[in-house]
């Protein structure tokens, strides 16, 4: 029997093992923050600013205190008296917890009420009277950079304007030389609209300060509990060992649950003041208008091309809208995140990128919405640019990509902006995709349809992206390096418990981490419990976002299991009465090389670790591993979409979606495919309907699910999935990140398909979302449709 077949049986690598966590979820026995009820618990509600920019002239909370059942009313002034009105952000800026001087975006936290139940807390919030003096509102970079623009951050010293930062990367001179040699220069200008990760479950916390032990326990919706503990220790100046953060089941995260939000801080202070547990559960509007958004960036670029299709260089000029506080939740040392991962899969000699970040009167806190920070914008621009350039050259869009791909034998490859990609088979993925969609056949079908007045289109997006922050040289959060961890304890009977510093939000860690252990040790996956999210028990880790769990925590799981195996080998030698050198390993068993029939199982070794260890050996069989990845992993994907556009309405229907993903070795193929389909759906959503925009007064349009549209089962297309496997050369089991690939690479495929369908109009770009009216406008007016859709101005 081969090892691989054994391995599937015990739920090891490559097994589409059914998920352990589902046993509770399908029974409704998941335990989300809002499901937790503590004795004597109180409830907190937040009063938010209705205005986007205004000076607070007075706050009268007296009527709120009079509402029966109210226990505490918190204002910025009270927070300030405890030095908690402002908190540091993950990007070295400050953010208001409760406003003291001004409100700087609609939905900003102004006051909190803590009461016996949330209905009463809400009643009391309505009884608070706040007087505002409205100020001019800034909702985009152009306004922010205008000469007479009002200053948003007048709270900061040395902040003369609304510029957050200027940043550049790449080789300016080399790029200028490339453009001087170009036969053709293609240009493109895009807006990637503001979007929101919008997990179904909103944010929330239960802070429980116990005066008798001085211990603070916080149950909260966080993707990164250990970082939160560190942050709470720093902000609240509590001793770190007296803080316990528990992240229970999370109803999705997608990046939204990485930052520290004012609600968490306020609930903690309230619990300390009241010495009772305080629960805060955000409503959907609060989540959509005040918490970490994604994107909101203006991208302009040009590409220097040779007539034969070779790309010589790329320039990008970008402006990013960070909202009222620079609280991007991203761990890189690069100000604009990984935007410069653009064009990483193409062999381009020179590139240069500049970015200016600005403050506006919009919600703060860009998050890596199902992507490594800014990678989605990078890949969207890249793949829209590739299509535009192919058009300008009159070249087939697939062939143009193929001609510029980094070739299979050129790894590791230094990208034009300095990343080092690890591996890939780009051409093969493209071929698999083209074959699956029937590329040539579709082109013919499209031409025939055109004769009958029907508009068909095909869009391709190919991309690689850096996943698995980080390496500790370039990635940290508040100085904490981006490693991750795993602790494995094998019990006497050969069963085990594994804990990691990551935190699943639906990715299925309880299932897949056990599979890695099964692969490394031969202990059946069903014999391994996986625990995450409790900082009192799990080893310190950086959490789950940016598709980093498998590349980093997953690697730590492998490494800790190998440490266990090393000790088990010594135990096996002892039990078999041979020297360690004479022992061989096969899945789950050590045996004597010269007599393969003589062996001991890993379970027997575990028993020996507690009952029969050799003299001088420390008892027990447990260990911990901290993994600092040598590089990011670089998965590759090719997404191909076909659409039909209705010329009379601009409505477009997706005909087919083909996805070819190469994420290296797949731990659990079923779960990987689930991640890809979920990612494709968010890509479809962003391309078609999901966006947040603001009117001139800074009112958020998209503040609830009536306006912020998420697709249902009815609109969402079906998916056809294919795979190519190029193992990561530096990951212990050859795996790469995958959770976000489809969200990152998908949008361009949908948009390229629609643009292809209306190619004859000569229109170069419609900005997302491709709402039917925008497509119709492009079709009939034959001009680009740029920027966010207009909002009502006559109200």
């Amino acid at each position: 029997m081969t090892q691989a077949r054994d391995e599937i049986k015990i739920g090891g690598l490559g097994a589409s093992r059914r998920r352990v966590e589902d046993n509770r979820f399908v029974r409704g026995k998941g335990r989300y923050v809002d499901d937790i009820v503590l004795p004597d618990m109180l409830h907190m509600e937040i009063l938010r600013s209705p205005l986007a920019h205004a000076r607070i002239t007075s706050i009268d909370v007296s009527k709120a205190w009079q509402v029966p059942g109210v226990r505490l009313v918190l204002t910025g002034e009270m927070m300030a008296s405890r030095n908690l009105a402002w908190m540091p952000t993950l990007s070295y800026d400050t953010q208001a917890v409760l406003a003291t001087d001004k409100v700087r975006f609609q939905g900003q936290e102004v006051a909190c009420v803590i009461a016996d139940d949330p209905y009463i807390a809400k009643d009391a919030c309505e009884a608070i009277v706040v007087e505002y003096e409205p100020l001019p509102v800034i909702v985009n970079p152009a306004q922010a950079l205008a000469e007479d623009a009002p200053l948003i951050r007048d709270d900061k010293e040395n902040q003369p304007d609304n510029v957050v930062f200027d940043w550049e990367v790449g080789d300016k001179e080399g790029t200028d030389r490339a453009f001087a040699q170009a036969d053709v220069v293609s240009t493109l200008e895009l807006h990637y609209p503001r979007s929101h990760p919008s997990p179904l479950e909103c944010c929330g916390s239960i802070a429980d300060f116990d005066r008798s032990t001085s211990k603070l326990t916080v149950y909260m919706t966080t993707q990164a509990p250990h970082i939160i503990r560190a942050a709470v220790a720093l902000v609240a100046e509590l001793p770190e060992h007296m803080i316990r953060i528990v992240s229970p089941d999370l109803g999705g995260g997608f990046g939204n649950k990485v930052p520290v939000y004012p609600g968490y801080v306020a609930s903690i202070l309230a619990s300390i003041l009241l010495e009772r547990p305080v629960k805060w559960i955000e409503d959907k509007t609060g989540n959509l208008i005040s918490t970490g958004f994604g994107r909101d960036i203006y991208l302009r670029g040009e590409m220097a091309l040779r007539n034969d299709g070779k790309i010589l260089g790329v320039r990008m000029q970008t402006e990013s809208d960070h909202g009222a506080f620079f609280s991007d939740a991203q761990p890189s040392k690069f100000k604009i995140g990984l935007l410069h991962s653009a064009f990483a899969c193409y062999d381009i000699p020179a590139a240069h990128l500049v970015n200016r970040g600005v403050y506006t009167n919009k919600a703060p806190g860009g998050v890596a919405y199902r992507c490594s920070f800014r990678v989605t914008e990078a890949m969207y621009f890249q793949e829209r640019m590739m299509q535009a350039a192919a058009d300008d050259l009159g070249m087939d869009q697939a062939e143009f990509r193929r001609r510029n791909f980094v070739r299979d034998h050129d790894f590791p490859h230094r990208t034009p902006f300095g990343f080092l990609t690890d591996s890939g088979q780009y051409g093969k993925c493209l071929d698999v995709g083209l074959e699956a969609i029937g590329y040539q056949g579709f082109l013919k079908q499209k031409e025939e349809a055109k004769q009958r007045g029907r508009l068909l289109g095909i869009g391709i997006s190919t991309m690689t992206e850096p996943l698995g922050a980080g390496n500790s040289r370039e990635y940290d959060i508040l100085g904490i390096k981006m490693f991750d961890s795993a602790e494995l304890r094998v019990h006497m009977t050969g069963k085990a418990i594994l804990r990691t510093g990551a935190k699943s939000q639906g990715q299925g860690h309880e299932t897949t981490w056990a599979q890695i252990v099964a692969h490394e040790l031969g202990i059946p996956a069903e014999d391994i419990t996986v625990e995450e999210g409790d900082t009192d028990t799990a080893p310190f880790g950086m959490g789950t976002y940016a598709s980093r769990s498998t590349p980093v925590a997953g690697a730590a799981v492998s490494m800790v299991a190998r440490k266990i195996r090393a000790k088990a080998r010594k135990l096996a030698a002892h039990l078999l009465e041979v020297s360690e050198e004479d022992i061989e390993w096969e899945l789950g068993r050590f045996y004597v090389r010269s007599a393969p029939g003589q062996g001991v199982t890993i379970q027997e070794c575990a028993a020996a670790a507690y009952s029969n260890m050799p003299d001088g050996m420390e008892p027990g069989l447990e260990n911990v591993a901290y993994y600092d990845p040598p590089n990011l992993t670089w998965p590759f994907a090719c997404y191909i979409v076909t659409v039909e556009v209705d010329p009379q309405t601009g409505v477009w229907d997706v005909l087919r979606v083909v996805a070819v993903d190469d994420c290296g070795v797949r731990i659990n193929p079923m779960i990987v495919e689930g991640q890809i389909m979920g990612g494709l759906t968010e890509a479809y959503a962003m391309a078609s309907m999901q966006f947040i925009t603001f009117d001139a007064q800074g009112n958020c349009v998209g503040s609830n699910y009536m306006d912020y549209l998420l697709p249902t089962a009815w609109e969402t297309p079906g998916y056809e999935l294919h795979e190519v496997v190029t193992p990561s050369p530096h990951h212990p089991i050859g795996a790469k990140g995958v959770g976000e690939c489809a969200t990152v690479g998908g949008p361009a495929a949908f948009v390229n398909a629609v643009m292809d369908a209306i190619r004859d109009t000569g229109v170069r770009n419609i900005d997302m979302p491709l709402l039917p009216d925008r497509v119709y406008e492009a079709l009939t007016q034959r001009h680009d449709v740029s920027g966010a859709p207009p909002v009502r101005t006559d109200d």
Partner: protein
């Protein structure tokens, strides 16, 4: 009422009038005194400790709170608890017995029809209502029936497969 003793609690804040309701929840009669403004979802979750019914939005869009009300799926965040007086409610906790899974639950597990699990109870109850009235639905009929429930994780394809899996299982059970 079922314990050995019950503390006589202080009057609700502000002497608020309450109404006594009796609702058959998952087959058992449950009685509670509720403020008229209390939403059914909150009574189920906080009052009856049936936290499998989730609340995901404020605007009757997401369907995470879907329960069966006299056999029909409704959004329990959009009904007052007082309105359920005298009616039957089935929540996810009532889908199956304690040890065995309902075929719909099995289907969701087998076809990887869930990730974070937050939409799952509502999805399964919407699916149950569909299969009760249409035991052999097409893929489109499943997508249509579930279009009042949002999922952010799965992209729906596996949810559809899960329901079709359950339909097949239920049919084979009824023929055998």
């Amino acid at each position: 009422m079922t314990g050995l003793y019950e503390e006589i609690r202080e009057q609700p804040a502000g002497d608020v009038p309450v109404r006594r309701v009796t609702i058959t929840v998952n087959g058992a009669k449950r009685t509670a005194d509720v403020e008229p403004r209390l939403l059914l979802a909150h009574l189920l979750r906080q009052g009856f400790k049936l936290t499998g019914t989730h609340t995901g939005c404020d605007t009757t869009n997401c369907g995470a709170c879907t329960v069966l009300f006299d056999g029909r799926p409704i959004k329990s965040c959009t009904m007052l608890a007082v309105q359920a007086d005298g009616h039957e409610v089935t929540t996810v906790e009532g889908l199956a017995g304690t040890s065995e899974l309902h075929p719909i639950q099995e289907g969701f597990k087998d076809e990887h029809g869930l990730q974070c699990g937050f939409c799952t109870p509502g999805m399964m109850l919407a699916a149950k209502a569909l299969l009760d009235s249409n035991p052999d639905p097409s893929e489109d009929e499943v997508r249509w029936a579930l279009s009042g429930n949002l999922c952010r994780c799965t992209g729906y394809q596996n949810i559809v497969k899960s329901v079709l899996w359950a339909a097949k299982k239920l049919q084979s059970q009824s023929t055998s």
